[in-house]
Structures are given as C-alpha cells and as structure tokens.
C-alpha cells in the first residue's frame, strides 16, 4: 500500500461511512475482520456452543447412571415441576436477587452520599468499604457464618449489650434467613455500588445544585429531585449488575446455609451443583436452562426500561 493511493481513500472513508463497494473494501483493508477471530472463536467454543447444547441436553435423560443419551421430551421439566423444586428454586432465586439488589444499592447509595466529600477520613472509609469487594465471596460467607451462628459473635455482642441471653438462629429461619443471606451478599458488593454512585455524584454540575439552593430547595429536595434522578446511569449499572450477579450467585449461599434450612435459600445455581454432584446431569442442565430463560425474561426488559429512563432524564 503506497502513501499516494491511500490518502484519497482515507478521506473518502471519513466523508461517508456507509458507502459503496470501494468503501467496503477500504474498511476491510483498514479494519480487517480477522481481528474479530480470536475473540469470537473463544466465545463460540466456550460460550455459544455450550449454550446451544444446553437447549438440547435439557430434553434428554443424560445421567451418570444411563449408558445412552436419549431424548425424553419435557420429562425433566415435568419431574422438576411436580416435585415442587422448579417453582421453589425459581421463587427463591427471584426473591434473593431482588433483596440483594435492594440491599446492595441502598447500602451503596447511603455510603456514597455519606462519604461524598473528599476528606481524609472519607477517603479512608471508601477504601475500607472496598475491601469486601476484593475478597472471595466464599471467604465472606464463612466469616459471616461465624458471626451469625447461634453461638456466634453477633448473639454474643447482643447479649452483652442487652444483658440477656440472646440466641437468635440467624441462619436457621425458614422465613428470614434468605433476607440475612441477601444482606451478606449486599454487604460484600456495596463497596462497588458506592464507588459507582460516587462517580455519578461527581459528574453532577455544581451550578445546578447552587441554583437549587438559591431557589430555596432543602437538602431532601436537592437529593431526591436533583441528585437522585441525575444518578440514572449509575443506577442502571448498579441495579443491572446486582440483579445479574445475584441471579448467578452461588458462593455466599453455599458458604452460609448450603441452601438450607429446608431448601428455603436454595437458589438455582445451588441446585445445579447439587444435582450435578448426584450424577443427574440432565436435571442439572434443565435447571441451567431455566436460569438462562429467567435471566433473559427479567434482565433484558429491565435494562431496556432503565436505559429509557436514563434517556428521559438526561
């Protein structure tokens, strides 16, 4: 390629992106498709093909106990539905995801507002609240298990301050334990939400806030009418990542309750791992497909809605 015949073509490329055949050739020359190949081969082998296979094997009798793999229609789904596991685990996962999103982002937003100013102690606190984000979720789960055990640290502290013997089974309630575990998940990731909200707060023009103050807005009005709406992009990011992260959750629940008590905290990934360990591969695959569809149904419209909300506000 000589310099002489490159420059006019380059200029043409700048003028119009959607041009005729020469432009197409030029684009291929300047931005060759082969640069896509390594990334998309990895995606194909390790992501797309397994996903497609997931749709196939969910309809088979694949297991450690049968020598052949045969199609059995909707048998896996019917079995999981009739045993009640399908609906229970779906409900548990949904409740867990919503609770995590609420906890993580409420904690994160409060921390962001609380630590917004660039003082030395605030900066230190931000760094400290990011430490759980860096740690392994499994480790976080074990630590909180020790805190929340019936004879664990929290009950000891509460007993000390109230002067009575307190022995709440934080991880043993069929109703409330899921809330506790979701709070732990929220605690682990609140530092990330905090940072994202802080970044959003930093982008707000101080003129807007000044104008509001001059108009006599009190601090509640300034926050809810101006700051919170302007945090829309950060809100989208945080809600989406926390929902997706918790629907795909495993480590924290496994480390604290292992799905118990009585299956009330068994999110889908826990079921997938448990049945896989039992050699019931097709049931495991079926649940994996259920998770896939659930995420698709919930996340896509939600993200679409949140982006539209952003566009309306900004």
């Amino acid at each position: 390629m000589s310099t002489l015949n490159t420059s006019p073509k380059a200029r043409a490329a700048r003028r119009g992106r959607e041009g005729g055949g020469t432009l197409k050739k030029l684009m291929q020359q300047n931005y060759p498709v082969r640069y896509l190949v390594p990334a998309y081969i990895m995606l194909l082998i390790f992501f797309f093909v397994p996903t497609v296979l997931n749709f196939i094997y969910a309809f088979t009798n694949w297991s450690a106990f049968s020598k052949t793999i045969e199609f059995n229609g909707f048998d896996n789904f019917i079995e999981l539905f009739q045993s009640g596991t399908l609906l229970r685990d779906l409900r548990v996962t949904l409740v867990y995801a919503i609770l995590v999103a609420v906890f993580q982002n409420t904690f994160g937003l409060i921390l962001a507002v609380f630590l917004e100013e660039d003082t030395r102690i605030n900066r230190f606190a931000r760094v400290m609240f990011f430490v759980p984000v860096i740690m392994s979720a499994l480790a976080v789960g074990y630590i909180w298990q020790a805190v929340l055990k019936t004879d664990g640290a929290l009950n000891q502290i509460l007993s000390f301050f109230t002067g009575q013997n307190i022995d709440v089974a934080w991880l043993g309630s069929t109703t409330w334990t899921i809330v506790v575990v979701a709070a732990i998940h929220g605690w682990k990731w609140m530092g990330l939400s905090m940072l994202v909200f802080l970044a959003g707060l930093k982008t707000i023009d101080s003129d807007v806030l000044e104008a509001a103050a001059i108009d006599g807005a009190n601090r509640f009005q300034v926050f809810w009418r101006i700051k919170f709406p302007l945090l829309a992009p950060a809100f989208t990011f945080n809600v989406a990542t926390s929902l997706l992260g918790s629907m795909n959750g495993f480590d924290i629940v496994q480390a604290t309750t292992q799905g118990g008590p009585g299956g009330t905290t068994e999110i889908l990934n826990l079921f997938i791992w448990r049945t896989f360990g039992q050699g019931l591969y097709s049931q495991s695959t079926t649940m994996s497909l259920v998770l896939f569809v659930m995420v698709l149904i919930i996340a896509v419209p939600l993200i679409w809605y949140l982006r539209r909300r952003e566009a309306k506000i900004l």
């Binding site: 970044a199 101080s206 896989f276």
Partner: protein
C-alpha cells in the same frame, strides 16, 4: 443506617453553600464514619483476625475475645503445609494470569473492529459479543464439551472457559472507549503507510490504558475469587485457592477448625489486598471512570 443518612445531609448543603462546614458538624461526621465502619466492617474483620490467631480449643466457638496467646503464624504454617496452599496459589496464578491477559488482548482487538465498523451486520456481531454480560454461562454443558475435547480438569480448559465468560465484559468496556477516540489519529498513521497491525499495537492499544486497567481489575477479581465454575470444570483435578478453601471447609478435616479456615482466608486474600493497597487510588478512579460515562 438512618443515622448515616442524617450524617450525610449537612455535607450535601456544604458543597452548595460557600461557607465552610461548621466544626461540630465535621466532628459528628467523623464520629459517624468511625461508628459505621466499626459496626459494618469492624465486627467481621475483628472476628476474622482474632479467630485466626487462636488455638483450636479457643476457636471452636468463634468469639470476639482476644486469643490468650497469639498463634497466627503457627496457624499460617499449618494451612500452608497441610492445606496445600502453595500448590493452590500457583494453580490460581497459572489460571488467572493467562485468562485475564488473553481476554483483554483478544477483546481489545475485536473491540477495535466493532467500534470502527458501523454497519448493521457488525452491530449484530457486537450484540452477540456482549451477550455474555447478561446471559449466564451453561456450566454443565461446557463441562461436557471440555470432556469431549479432552480439556476438562486442565488449566487450558479452565482458562478457555474464563475467557469465554468474561470476554463480553472486556468487549463492552473497550468498544465503548474506542468509540470516544478520534479516528483522525489512525488516519494520520495510515497515510504514512502503517498497516492495521501497527496501528492497533502502536496507536490504539496504548490509548486503552485506563479502560484496560478497569477491565483487568474487574476480570481479575471475578476469576481469582471464582469457585462455582472451577468446581465444575476442574472436578478436583487441579487446585485453586478458593476451590481449596471450599474443599477444606467442607471436609471433615477442617470441621470446626475455624482458626485454620480463617488463617487460610487471610492468606488467600493477601495477594489481592496487597495489590489493592498499593494501587487503590488508581483502582478506585479506574472503576469510577469506566463504569459510568
């Protein structure tokens, strides 16, 4: 938590008004920050450290009291030798470093094309490329696929799966960033006769610094701490740090050995914590800069 909201409120007004914050307000704020940190972070981390320093008899019921005598180093030694931590540490390195490096390299190359070619088919390719941001990986069938191609239980198989899972994150961040880089820089080089490879490696890649830093942090965090995918893929044939923690914590050997579990957790968290301690300013500004545009 409500106290925290009120503590924040005076601050909100401060940034608006010209006046300096009152001294008492500042002191109350400091007290609140310390209190919130003590409750939310102090309790779990205190418990982690004191329990890791105790003997088995003292640690059997984890509590907040100080150990009667510290044996933190002895406990570290025990988990390092009996818990096979060193092997697991190198396992984690062998898997994490190539996964992150290749995901970033391949992802950046693809992102360059995706950002610059704006045709309709390319938009579809981009959508496919970032679909992994939302869609959960099919973890059972990926294990089966690896078994068929003979990669299950091996480091290359694990690396491939991690690259496949986190490629979307890289493509999403980097494509968004490249779109903000003016195309004129590349055109100038092209007029001087530079080939695509040279343009990518000498012009585009160096400009990606901040966004690659953000992507590195996020992807490293996910991979270094992952236990779910490695449980399926490695099926006990290779040791990684979190996987090892899972095994020792579930095994009878460590049952009720809180002091050893917690010693393990401290050692396992140290590498990332040390990196974070030295680069926290960059990491925090990287994440805040990259996530919200």
């Amino acid at each position: 938590m409500t106290a925290a909201t009120f503590g924040a409120a005076p601050k909100t007004n401060e940034s608006v008004s010209v006046n300096k914050r009152s001294k008492t307000g500042a002191i109350i704020h400091i007290i609140l920050v310390v209190l919130v940190m003590a409750i939310l972070l102090g309790i779990p981390f205190w418990l982690l450290i004191v329990t890791a320093g105790k003997s088995q008899a003292e640690a059997i019921v984890p509590n907040m009291s100080l150990p009667s005598h510290w044996q933190l180093l002895e406990n570290f030694k025990t988990v390092l030798t009996d818990g096979e931590m060193i092997k697991a540490f190198f396992g984690s390195i062998v898997v994490t470093v190539p996964s992150v490096f290749l995901a970033l390299l391949f992802g950046s190359m693809a992102s360059w094309i995706l950002a610059r070619r704006t045709t309709k088919p390319m938009a579809l390719v981009y959508t496919l490329g970032i679909s992994g941001l939302i869609l959960p990986p099919a973890v059972v069938t990926v294990m089966m696929l690896l078994k068929m191609i003979g990669l299950s239980g091996t480091a290359p198989g694990m690396i491939g799966v991690y690259i496949g899972i986190y490629m979307s994150t890289v493509i999403f961040f980097v494509t968004g960033f490249i779109r903000t880089i003016p195309i004129s820089l590349e055109e100038a080089a092209r007029m001087d006769g530079a080939k695509p490879m040279r343009i990518f490696f000498t012009i585009i890649l160096p400009l990606l610094g901040p966004t690659l830093a953000t992507a590195t942090i996020l992807v490293t965090l996910y991979i270094w701490n992952d236990v779910f995918y490695s449980l399926f893929i490695l099926s006990g044939k290779m040791d990684l740090l979190p996987l090892n923690l899972y095994n020792v914590a579930s095994a009878g050997l460590y049952l009720n050995n809180w002091h050893l579990i917690f010693a393990y957790i401290i050692l396992m968290s140290l590498p990332l914590l040390l990196i974070f301690a030295f680069t926290q300013r960059k990491i925090i500004s990287g994440i805040t800069g990259g996530a919200v545009k």
